[in-house]
Symmetry: D3
Subunit: 237 residues, 6 copies
């Protein structure tokens, strides 16, 4: 029934390749089927003004799509002169999600910026960015721990994200682009390895939904996230 | 336990005053306690390029805060030269929510723009904007029906929104600003009168949450929305 | 002869309602007929760099129109990405006018920002903004005096503004929108209660004018301002 | 008493040199003492959308200052990314003033853009721009009449502008920069050769003013404009 | 003598991997040592307004650097709100260079946009972008020829670019970042396979240079380009 | 054969008039035939952050064209809200070229900004700006030396620039606009009086070129620059 022939609760193949760029403190290319996102972590000594002197760290994120990551070429945001509403919304989400999994006092007064750049898009880029972004963050923190700059691990519980939705009347896991563009309900779920919820977003796109459907989507998300966390663990061992 | 002395499942007093500005096709001032939002509906004959000729209508929204709607003065976005990320995110949400309750083919090729301007802020402005925005939309559509320009009512099921969250470890309904700034979990829920879900957004702000807590918040939201819809009905009779 | 049936030297009904928003140090809604402007005063401890250390205070103003304050919806300036020429010109005028009535040394090194937001427009918004802005300023200064932060009253002579013009060949007081859009000459006059001039602006819009006509307009302005100052005094007693 | 040693009612030396740039349909360099403004008129076949098909023409203006036209270098507006409030206000004034002296129906559906670029500033640049701008406009219109494209002269009454103010308690004509920066009252007056008023702007800068003083400034302005019109006539014969 | 131990006239290892993204009409990742640039070609039916109806095609380019392609993180241009001067200069150069190798009449009225995004930077990114950009262009044109949309090959002579400079007093080929940041003279050379020059840019950076040195750099460039063209041919066979 | 009737190696008449504006530390109007550029030098005590404390000075440049310096009116960049790509490229070139002729340690920690504003354009504006910019710089430095603020002359070797190109198959010196718009190859050459090269830029515009042609253009450039340096010397004696 799904265009890709997948089962309703079947993820696309996941791969996470680390060490993509030599300059970043942490980096990976995450591939969820045909969705490919390059994630880098950049460490800086300074923190934003509003937490200066608090002893707390900060994690923030930026998101972009290469102009031809999509079926037809999109206008480059740098040349348009501003980030679109969708971009701003997504990068705020990524930052919020990753911060929820960080013990900011253990991190200490330093900032880590996660850049997520979509190389090829086929649905679910924001979820891939969060899952891959956590890997880049993990690698950068590992470096700080190895060098002894921080002692207590600030990343206690891995964070990953997956999309689920109602497609052709059925709840499905990990929407690809053909499904995403037809789905009646579209959701993004961010969870920790231990099954705690960080963010739940469900939107009616053309058809409203019931609480039963809501719960079916959360069930699927729990399954998806546990598979993603396994891939994160494998990549960062 | 709540700073305002309200029960856990008690809304702030709601009032919706219609006919606020003489130029708009529909307008109201919605007051949720100390949160006051002016909502206007503006009707235009044109639709966005991507639906020209489709026979479908469009509903969109813009959101703003007056500089001194807040405790300390905020910079005016027009003078800053761009809308901030939060503004963009909120106005996209309002538009999406209202569209979900519109039969766009019954509306026909016309656009209605809902402007939501916060006169005084005390938490929950985006939810108030959606609830009040629906009233302005209802009034504008009433005008079109009275004049015979449209025949079938495109607004079949009223739409309203309410925030809920975990405050001091307890699920509470309709967060005001003192609660919002301290809440560990913050959610916005958009429902129809018939209890269908349009949008669910829950974010961990400092503490993750369980599925049980998620369901308690949805329960509260259902209660809150039914009270808001009653106020909408009273204002538009 | 006037569309509204008013006499040539008759103002529209004026009302000034104070205490509109709970956060601002001073606020009012001024209504000149169908022109409604919300004015707030925001007090800050800092002053602009060019007077730091001078012991002098500063008063500045910003002006905006809600998108549907006008007959047809205007584009929101925050979304257009800049304030238009008319907005910039008006807010410079408001700030200059109010500063002319302030003893900046008595005010001391603090800044008061007057925000004037047009809720409904029917001509004469800049004059209403100045007259209402002075009320908001007065209320904010009253607070400073009550708390003992300033001792000498920096607002010695109330400031108000009114528009006059040549409409259908006749000098008329307080132009409303139908008159304003047809007037051959359009003027804005800012005076103090004691009859001193702060700013005189007269523009030919289609027909030039004589010195006699100039003087007739100033006569009308003196009458109008004295009525406005009475309303200001009543509102701030 | 004046820093320059001029009498109270004495203008600075005026010179108007035409034919400054070979590309423009009309051009001049106007020099009022040390204030030098290059004015060009550019003719285009198109008119702004709001008058298309009306048979009427349009005159508009833009104003700029070279970065080092002033005592210390100003930031280039093109590099700052926007025109400042003062620039916008001045160019709107120039356009409005010149249009007031044009029979737009005699001009026919064409647009003339007057560019006024300040090469060296010493006070009174906006007045110099209007006076010189009219000369550039006159030359461009002459060309249209010579070629027979227009038959009826649309420039019936020359337009010129001069500043006057209260300096050291005395009304003075044609303020230079040292006077302008100290003046208690500052005014700009735009008149036609026949003595009709187009625009009157008087601002209190530190001290309010009386109607008597207002009238003394208009007297001076009439004298100044008659001298400027003579220079315009001489330059365009 | 070179930090990398290379001979004076030795290029870094070159690799060109095609088919990097599934959406683009042509794509490759070019790697010159540690400089990695992703190049895509996007085909559109429309051409810029200034050549509409001319029968000629257009090739244009855009360039960007991922924020962490560099040693320390650069600010994202989309979030800064504009492309910097260096970016603009480079993308104009790429477009100009590639157009010089295209028979625009054989291409016909279509536009190909080459996007060059730097994944990892180690000097010479603009030259890598031109060399890789030509490969993406070649692949897109191949598709048009295979489908029969164009008949005559518009790419008659391959185009490639290399940097050369005076480093530690010696002419060297293909500067990497450590050399580039120390070079006294820095040049970019764009040539065709047949040895014709398309663009020559040489800049003194701290020390001026002689005509002899100029000629030595061109000699090196000829050698480098012939190696790059071999890699282009291998990748596109 | 040249539209102007000049010989292949004949420059247009050059004139350099100094002391154009009274405020600038150095200024000149350079005229190359019908290309007229006003150049000013502005001295500031501060240097850019990246060289603070280094003891070195800085020279930078900005470039602009008056809207009607060209055949048809160009949009004013300040009103467009940004400097175009061509402008940015040119002003970076001017700054780089002039810095190459400055001993920055002899200049000491001060910044000189060269503004080059094109009053009338007929080809070769960037070269005229460099040649005239050097004169303005020379005059500003003379002032510093006369006042004893600097002791060692930081301008050891005059810098000038000229364009050459292949027009109608022939190498020609100092292209004017009719030649520039038809040239197959277009080059800009920046040299010192002593014949050292600072910058060489040659671009194929429609036809590629050979090394022989490259050398012929450099020969012409050497001749042109020696004539320009003579004019610079004459103007600054």
């Amino acid at each position: 029934m799904r265009p890709s022939g997948r089962d309703l609760s079947e993820m696309r193949p996941v791969s996470i390749e680390t060490g993509i760029t030599k300059h970043a403190e942490g980096s990976c290319m995450i591939r969820l089927g045909d969705t490919h996102v390059l994630c880098t972590a950049s460490l800086e000594a300074r923190v934003p003004p509003f937490i200066k002197g608090s002893g707390l760290g900060w994690v923030t994120a930026e998101y972009g799509m290469l102009p031809r990551s999509t079926t037809s070429r999109m206008r480059r945001e740098a040349s348009a002169g501003k980030q679109g509403g969708r971009t701003v919304e997504i990068q705020r989400l990524i930052g919020r999600a990753l911060r929820a999994g960080v013990d900011r006092s253990a991190l200490g007064e330093r900032q880590i910026t996660i850049d997520c750049d979509v190389i090829q898009a086929d649905g679910g880029t924001r979820c891939a960015a969060i899952t891959g972004g956590w890997v880049a963050l993990r690698l950068a923190v590992n470096k700080l721990m190895k060098s002894g700059e921080i002692v207590c691990d600030p990343l206690v519980d891995p964070v990953a994200a997956v999309s689920c939705g109602i497609y052709a009347g059925q709840p499905v896991l990990d929407l690809d682009y053909p499904e995403d563009s037809e789905a009646g309900v579209d959701g993004n779920f961010i969870l920790t390895e231990s099954g705690k919820l960080i963010e739940v977003q469900m939107s009616a796109e053309g058809s409203v939904f019931s609480r039963d459907q809501m719960n079916q989507l959360v069930d699927l998300a729990e399954k998806g996230v546990s598979e993603l966390v396994a891939a994160q663990r494998a990549a960062t061992q």
